[in-house]
Symmetry: C2
Subunit: 152 residues, 2 copies
DNA sequence: AGATTTCTCTTCTCTGAGGAAGAGATTAAT
DNA sequence: ATTAATCTCTTCCTCAGAGAAGAGAAATCT
Protein backbone atom coordinates (compact mmCIF):
# COMPACT_ATOMS: atom_id res chain seq x y z
CA UNK A 1 0.00 0.00 0.00
CA UNK A 2 1.20 3.47 -0.77
CA UNK A 3 -0.72 5.41 1.81
CA UNK A 4 1.32 6.71 4.71
CA UNK A 5 1.25 4.43 7.73
CA UNK A 6 -0.68 7.04 9.71
CA UNK A 7 -2.93 8.12 6.87
CA UNK A 8 -5.95 8.21 9.10
CA UNK A 9 -4.29 10.46 11.60
CA UNK A 10 -3.03 12.84 8.94
CA UNK A 11 -6.42 13.07 7.35
CA UNK A 12 -8.21 13.57 10.63
CA UNK A 13 -5.81 16.32 11.54
CA UNK A 14 -6.39 17.93 8.18
CA UNK A 15 -10.16 17.80 8.59
CA UNK A 16 -9.99 19.23 12.08
CA UNK A 17 -7.84 22.10 10.91
CA UNK A 18 -10.22 22.91 8.07
CA UNK A 19 -13.25 22.79 10.35
CA UNK A 20 -11.55 24.79 13.03
CA UNK A 21 -10.50 27.47 10.62
CA UNK A 22 -13.95 27.68 9.10
CA UNK A 23 -15.57 28.11 12.48
CA UNK A 24 -12.99 30.60 13.66
CA UNK A 25 -13.58 32.65 10.53
CA UNK A 26 -17.32 32.53 11.02
CA UNK A 27 -16.98 33.59 14.63
CA UNK A 28 -14.75 36.46 13.61
CA UNK A 29 -17.55 37.63 11.33
CA UNK A 30 -20.20 37.24 14.03
CA UNK A 31 -21.79 34.39 12.17
CA UNK A 32 -23.59 31.80 14.22
CA UNK A 33 -23.34 28.10 13.49
CA UNK A 34 -26.65 27.97 11.66
CA UNK A 35 -25.76 31.05 9.66
CA UNK A 36 -22.56 29.45 8.44
CA UNK A 37 -24.43 26.27 7.74
CA UNK A 38 -26.99 28.09 5.63
CA UNK A 39 -24.34 30.01 3.74
CA UNK A 40 -22.58 26.79 2.82
CA UNK A 41 -25.84 25.32 1.61
CA UNK A 42 -26.41 28.35 -0.56
CA UNK A 43 -22.84 28.19 -1.80
CA UNK A 44 -23.28 24.59 -2.84
CA UNK A 45 -26.80 24.57 -4.15
CA UNK A 46 -27.35 28.15 -5.24
CA UNK A 47 -30.44 30.28 -4.78
CA UNK A 48 -33.52 28.71 -3.27
CA UNK A 49 -36.72 29.63 -1.47
CA UNK A 50 -36.91 30.13 2.29
CA UNK A 51 -38.96 26.98 2.54
CA UNK A 52 -36.24 24.94 0.87
CA UNK A 53 -33.56 26.54 3.01
CA UNK A 54 -35.59 25.83 6.11
CA UNK A 55 -35.93 22.19 5.17
CA UNK A 56 -32.22 21.88 4.48
CA UNK A 57 -31.23 23.51 7.75
CA UNK A 58 -33.86 21.64 9.70
CA UNK A 59 -35.53 24.83 10.92
CA UNK A 60 -39.18 25.70 11.12
CA UNK A 61 -40.49 28.70 9.26
CA UNK A 62 -40.12 31.25 12.02
CA UNK A 63 -36.41 30.82 12.66
CA UNK A 64 -35.85 30.50 8.92
CA UNK A 65 -37.26 33.95 8.31
CA UNK A 66 -35.03 35.41 10.99
CA UNK A 67 -32.03 33.50 9.69
CA UNK A 68 -32.53 35.08 6.29
CA UNK A 69 -33.07 38.44 7.98
CA UNK A 70 -29.67 38.14 9.66
CA UNK A 71 -27.90 37.04 6.51
CA UNK A 72 -29.55 39.77 4.50
CA UNK A 73 -28.75 42.45 7.06
CA UNK A 74 -25.13 41.33 7.06
CA UNK A 75 -25.05 41.50 3.29
CA UNK A 76 -24.55 37.80 2.57
CA UNK A 77 -27.78 37.15 0.71
CA UNK A 78 -30.48 39.01 -1.14
CA UNK A 79 -34.23 38.42 -1.23
CA UNK A 80 -35.94 38.60 -4.62
CA UNK A 81 -39.51 37.92 -5.62
CA UNK A 82 -40.13 34.77 -7.60
CA UNK A 83 -41.46 35.88 -10.98
CA UNK A 84 -43.46 32.69 -11.43
CA UNK A 85 -45.10 32.51 -8.02
CA UNK A 86 -45.69 35.69 -6.11
CA UNK A 87 -46.00 33.94 -2.77
CA UNK A 88 -42.45 32.73 -3.02
CA UNK A 89 -39.20 34.48 -2.35
CA UNK A 90 -35.82 33.60 -3.77
CA UNK A 91 -32.84 33.79 -1.46
CA UNK A 92 -29.70 34.16 -3.46
CA UNK A 93 -26.15 34.46 -2.20
CA UNK A 94 -24.52 37.74 -2.95
CA UNK A 95 -20.82 38.10 -3.67
CA UNK A 96 -18.88 37.45 -0.50
CA UNK A 97 -18.64 40.66 1.45
CA UNK A 98 -15.37 42.31 2.24
CA UNK A 99 -15.24 41.25 5.86
CA UNK A 100 -15.49 37.55 5.17
CA UNK A 101 -12.95 37.82 2.39
CA UNK A 102 -10.61 39.72 4.66
CA UNK A 103 -10.91 37.11 7.36
CA UNK A 104 -10.38 34.20 4.98
CA UNK A 105 -7.63 35.88 3.01
CA UNK A 106 -4.61 34.70 5.05
CA UNK A 107 -5.62 31.07 4.71
CA UNK A 108 -6.31 31.43 1.02
CA UNK A 109 -2.92 33.02 0.60
CA UNK A 110 -1.18 30.18 2.40
CA UNK A 111 -3.06 27.54 0.45
CA UNK A 112 -2.26 29.37 -2.76
CA UNK A 113 1.43 29.29 -1.91
CA UNK A 114 1.27 25.60 -1.14
CA UNK A 115 -0.51 24.85 -4.40
CA UNK A 116 1.99 26.96 -6.32
CA UNK A 117 4.70 24.53 -5.30
CA UNK A 118 3.19 21.61 -7.19
CA UNK A 119 3.75 20.51 -10.75
CA UNK A 120 1.06 20.51 -13.40
CA UNK A 121 0.30 16.81 -12.98
CA UNK A 122 0.22 17.13 -9.23
CA UNK A 123 -2.23 19.99 -9.46
CA UNK A 124 -4.38 17.96 -11.75
CA UNK A 125 -4.44 15.20 -9.16
CA UNK A 126 -5.27 17.61 -6.37
CA UNK A 127 -8.12 19.31 -8.17
CA UNK A 128 -9.45 16.00 -9.30
CA UNK A 129 -9.54 15.02 -5.65
CA UNK A 130 -11.18 18.28 -4.63
CA UNK A 131 -13.91 17.75 -7.16
CA UNK A 132 -14.58 14.16 -6.21
CA UNK A 133 -14.34 14.75 -2.49
CA UNK A 134 -16.70 17.71 -2.66
CA UNK A 135 -19.31 15.51 -4.27
CA UNK A 136 -18.73 12.75 -1.74
CA UNK A 137 -19.06 15.09 1.23
CA UNK A 138 -22.07 16.76 -0.25
CA UNK A 139 -23.79 13.41 -0.72
CA UNK A 140 -22.83 12.25 2.75
CA UNK A 141 -23.99 15.53 4.23
CA UNK A 142 -27.33 15.43 2.54
CA UNK A 143 -27.77 11.87 3.62
CA UNK A 144 -26.99 12.95 7.18
CA UNK A 145 -29.35 15.87 7.12
CA UNK A 146 -32.09 14.02 5.32
CA UNK A 147 -31.69 10.84 7.32
CA UNK A 148 -33.40 9.90 10.51
CA UNK A 149 -32.76 12.42 13.29
CA UNK A 150 -33.28 9.64 15.79
CA UNK A 151 -30.96 6.67 15.54
CA UNK A 152 -32.11 3.27 14.39
CA UNK B 1 -0.72 27.87 -15.56
CA UNK B 2 -1.88 24.39 -14.79
CA UNK B 3 -4.66 25.15 -12.37
CA UNK B 4 -8.14 24.69 -13.73
CA UNK B 5 -9.71 27.89 -14.98
CA UNK B 6 -12.26 27.83 -12.17
CA UNK B 7 -9.88 26.66 -9.48
CA UNK B 8 -11.29 29.10 -6.96
CA UNK B 9 -14.80 27.90 -7.51
CA UNK B 10 -13.84 24.26 -7.24
CA UNK B 11 -11.92 24.86 -4.06
CA UNK B 12 -14.68 26.93 -2.50
CA UNK B 13 -17.18 24.24 -3.31
CA UNK B 14 -14.89 21.66 -1.76
CA UNK B 15 -14.48 23.69 1.41
CA UNK B 16 -18.21 24.30 1.69
CA UNK B 17 -18.91 20.60 1.34
CA UNK B 18 -16.38 19.72 4.02
CA UNK B 19 -17.72 22.32 6.42
CA UNK B 20 -21.30 21.39 5.73
CA UNK B 21 -20.63 17.73 6.32
CA UNK B 22 -18.75 18.43 9.54
CA UNK B 23 -21.56 20.53 10.92
CA UNK B 24 -24.21 18.07 9.84
CA UNK B 25 -22.32 15.32 11.58
CA UNK B 26 -22.00 17.35 14.73
CA UNK B 27 -25.68 18.17 14.69
CA UNK B 28 -26.51 14.52 14.26
CA UNK B 29 -24.52 13.82 17.43
CA UNK B 30 -26.21 16.63 19.36
CA UNK B 31 -22.98 18.56 19.47
CA UNK B 32 -23.28 22.32 19.66
CA UNK B 33 -21.03 24.62 17.68
CA UNK B 34 -18.75 25.33 20.60
CA UNK B 35 -18.54 21.65 21.48
CA UNK B 36 -17.39 20.78 17.98
CA UNK B 37 -14.96 23.68 18.05
CA UNK B 38 -13.45 22.46 21.30
CA UNK B 39 -13.21 18.89 20.08
CA UNK B 40 -11.29 20.03 17.03
CA UNK B 41 -8.93 22.03 19.21
CA UNK B 42 -8.29 18.99 21.33
CA UNK B 43 -7.86 16.85 18.24
CA UNK B 44 -5.23 19.21 16.88
CA UNK B 45 -3.38 20.23 20.03
CA UNK B 46 -3.94 17.28 22.33
CA UNK B 47 -4.70 17.37 26.02
CA UNK B 48 -4.70 20.69 27.83
CA UNK B 49 -6.08 22.35 30.94
CA UNK B 50 -9.56 23.88 31.12
CA UNK B 51 -7.92 27.29 31.31
CA UNK B 52 -6.09 26.75 28.06
CA UNK B 53 -9.20 25.37 26.40
CA UNK B 54 -11.18 28.34 27.62
CA UNK B 55 -8.67 30.73 26.14
CA UNK B 56 -8.66 28.93 22.83
CA UNK B 57 -12.43 28.85 22.57
CA UNK B 58 -12.79 32.39 23.79
CA UNK B 59 -14.95 31.37 26.73
CA UNK B 60 -14.81 32.52 30.33
CA UNK B 61 -14.29 29.99 33.07
CA UNK B 62 -17.93 29.27 33.83
CA UNK B 63 -18.99 28.18 30.36
CA UNK B 64 -15.68 26.34 29.98
CA UNK B 65 -16.43 24.13 32.94
CA UNK B 66 -19.85 23.31 31.59
CA UNK B 67 -18.45 22.73 28.12
CA UNK B 68 -16.09 20.12 29.54
CA UNK B 69 -18.96 18.70 31.57
CA UNK B 70 -20.94 18.20 28.39
CA UNK B 71 -18.06 16.65 26.49
CA UNK B 72 -17.22 14.39 29.39
CA UNK B 73 -20.81 13.30 29.87
CA UNK B 74 -21.02 12.46 26.18
CA UNK B 75 -17.83 10.47 26.42
CA UNK B 76 -15.64 12.63 24.18
CA UNK B 77 -13.09 13.70 26.79
CA UNK B 78 -11.79 12.66 30.17
CA UNK B 79 -10.69 14.76 33.14
CA UNK B 80 -7.48 13.77 34.88
CA UNK B 81 -5.61 15.44 37.71
CA UNK B 82 -2.36 17.12 36.78
CA UNK B 83 0.35 15.25 38.67
CA UNK B 84 2.58 18.31 38.82
CA UNK B 85 0.02 20.87 39.97
CA UNK B 86 -2.96 19.71 41.93
CA UNK B 87 -5.01 22.78 41.17
CA UNK B 88 -4.98 21.93 37.52
CA UNK B 89 -7.00 19.45 35.53
CA UNK B 90 -6.02 17.87 32.26
CA UNK B 91 -8.70 17.46 29.65
CA UNK B 92 -7.74 14.78 27.22
CA UNK B 93 -9.66 13.53 24.22
CA UNK B 94 -10.80 9.97 24.48
CA UNK B 95 -11.06 7.67 21.50
CA UNK B 96 -13.92 8.82 19.32
CA UNK B 97 -17.10 7.25 20.58
CA UNK B 98 -19.18 4.90 18.50
CA UNK B 99 -21.86 7.39 17.62
CA UNK B 100 -19.54 9.92 16.06
CA UNK B 101 -17.74 7.19 14.17
CA UNK B 102 -21.02 5.82 12.94
CA UNK B 103 -22.12 9.21 11.70
CA UNK B 104 -18.84 9.94 9.96
CA UNK B 105 -18.43 6.45 8.54
CA UNK B 106 -20.24 6.94 5.22
CA UNK B 107 -18.08 9.91 4.32
CA UNK B 108 -14.90 8.14 5.36
CA UNK B 109 -15.92 5.21 3.24
CA UNK B 110 -16.51 7.38 0.21
CA UNK B 111 -13.25 9.23 0.67
CA UNK B 112 -11.46 5.94 1.10
CA UNK B 113 -12.86 4.71 -2.18
CA UNK B 114 -11.79 7.89 -3.92
CA UNK B 115 -8.28 7.65 -2.53
CA UNK B 116 -8.07 3.99 -3.49
CA UNK B 117 -8.34 5.03 -7.11
CA UNK B 118 -5.08 6.96 -7.13
CA UNK B 119 -1.57 5.76 -7.88
CA UNK B 120 1.23 5.71 -5.36
CA UNK B 121 2.72 8.97 -6.54
CA UNK B 122 -0.67 10.63 -6.60
CA UNK B 123 -1.33 9.53 -3.05
CA UNK B 124 2.01 10.90 -2.02
CA UNK B 125 1.05 14.23 -3.52
CA UNK B 126 -2.33 14.22 -1.82
CA UNK B 127 -1.03 13.38 1.61
CA UNK B 128 1.73 15.89 1.22
CA UNK B 129 -0.94 18.44 0.55
CA UNK B 130 -3.03 17.30 3.50
CA UNK B 131 -0.09 17.71 5.80
CA UNK B 132 0.88 21.14 4.54
CA UNK B 133 -2.66 22.42 4.34
CA UNK B 134 -3.44 21.24 7.86
CA UNK B 135 -0.53 23.27 9.17
CA UNK B 136 -1.57 26.29 7.12
CA UNK B 137 -5.15 26.18 8.32
CA UNK B 138 -4.06 25.61 11.87
CA UNK B 139 -1.77 28.65 11.74
CA UNK B 140 -4.43 30.77 10.11
CA UNK B 141 -7.02 29.62 12.60
CA UNK B 142 -4.86 30.38 15.58
CA UNK B 143 -4.07 33.75 14.12
CA UNK B 144 -7.79 34.36 13.73
CA UNK B 145 -8.63 33.24 17.23
CA UNK B 146 -5.68 34.93 18.83
CA UNK B 147 -5.98 38.10 16.79
CA UNK B 148 -8.00 41.14 17.58
CA UNK B 149 -11.66 40.32 18.11
CA UNK B 150 -12.54 43.82 17.01
CA UNK B 151 -11.32 44.81 13.59
CA UNK B 152 -8.90 47.62 13.05
C1' DA C 1 4.07 30.85 58.44
C1' DG C 2 1.22 34.23 56.31
C1' DA C 3 -0.27 36.60 52.23
C1' DT C 4 -0.94 36.69 47.38
C1' DT C 5 -1.73 34.62 43.11
C1' DT C 6 -3.49 30.94 40.22
C1' DC C 7 -6.75 27.58 38.79
C1' DT C 8 -11.17 25.35 38.69
C1' DC C 9 -15.84 25.18 39.85
C1' DT C 10 -20.49 27.04 41.40
C1' DT C 11 -24.38 30.16 41.16
C1' DC C 12 -27.10 33.65 39.17
C1' DT C 13 -28.62 36.35 35.33
C1' DC C 14 -29.34 37.35 30.58
C1' DT C 15 -29.10 37.31 25.65
C1' DG C 16 -30.23 34.97 21.53
C1' DA C 17 -31.66 31.12 18.71
C1' DG C 18 -35.44 27.84 17.95
C1' DG C 19 -40.41 25.88 18.28
C1' DA C 20 -45.57 26.66 18.04
C1' DA C 21 -49.41 28.86 16.43
C1' DG C 22 -51.65 31.96 13.67
C1' DA C 23 -52.21 35.99 10.09
C1' DG C 24 -51.86 37.66 5.33
C1' DA C 25 -51.30 36.96 0.54
C1' DT C 26 -51.32 34.15 -3.50
C1' DT C 27 -52.17 30.06 -6.18
C1' DA C 28 -54.70 25.87 -7.20
C1' DA C 29 -58.89 23.11 -7.03
C1' DT C 30 -63.93 22.36 -7.18
C1' DA D 1 -66.70 32.12 -7.52
C1' DT D 2 -65.77 29.96 -3.59
C1' DT D 3 -63.01 26.88 -1.02
C1' DA D 4 -58.79 24.70 0.02
C1' DA D 5 -53.86 24.48 -0.06
C1' DT D 6 -49.29 26.76 -0.11
C1' DC D 7 -45.80 30.04 1.19
C1' DT D 8 -43.80 33.59 3.96
C1' DC D 9 -43.85 36.32 7.89
C1' DT D 10 -45.18 37.82 12.71
C1' DT D 11 -45.71 37.09 17.61
C1' DC D 12 -45.08 34.79 21.82
C1' DC D 13 -42.80 31.47 24.61
C1' DT D 14 -39.06 28.41 25.97
C1' DC D 15 -34.44 27.02 26.76
C1' DA D 16 -29.57 26.12 26.01
C1' DG D 17 -25.32 28.56 26.27
C1' DA D 18 -22.41 32.58 27.66
C1' DG D 19 -20.91 36.36 31.01
C1' DA D 20 -20.14 38.06 35.88
C1' DA D 21 -18.96 37.43 40.41
C1' DG D 22 -17.46 34.84 44.05
C1' DA D 23 -15.96 30.39 46.68
C1' DG D 24 -12.61 26.81 47.57
C1' DA D 25 -8.16 24.48 47.00
C1' DA D 26 -3.44 24.56 45.97
C1' DA D 27 0.92 26.65 44.62
C1' DT D 28 4.14 30.62 45.00
C1' DC D 29 6.20 34.59 47.13
C1' DT D 30 8.00 37.35 51.09
Amino acid sequence: MSMPPDAGRIYRRYLSAVLLHGQAGAKACDLGATDLYALNILELSGAMTPGELGTRTGLTTGPTTRLIDRLEAAGYVKRSPDPGDRRKVIVEPVGRPAELDRVLAPARQKIGEILAGYSAEQLETLFDYFTRAAQAYQDAGEHLAGGRPEGE
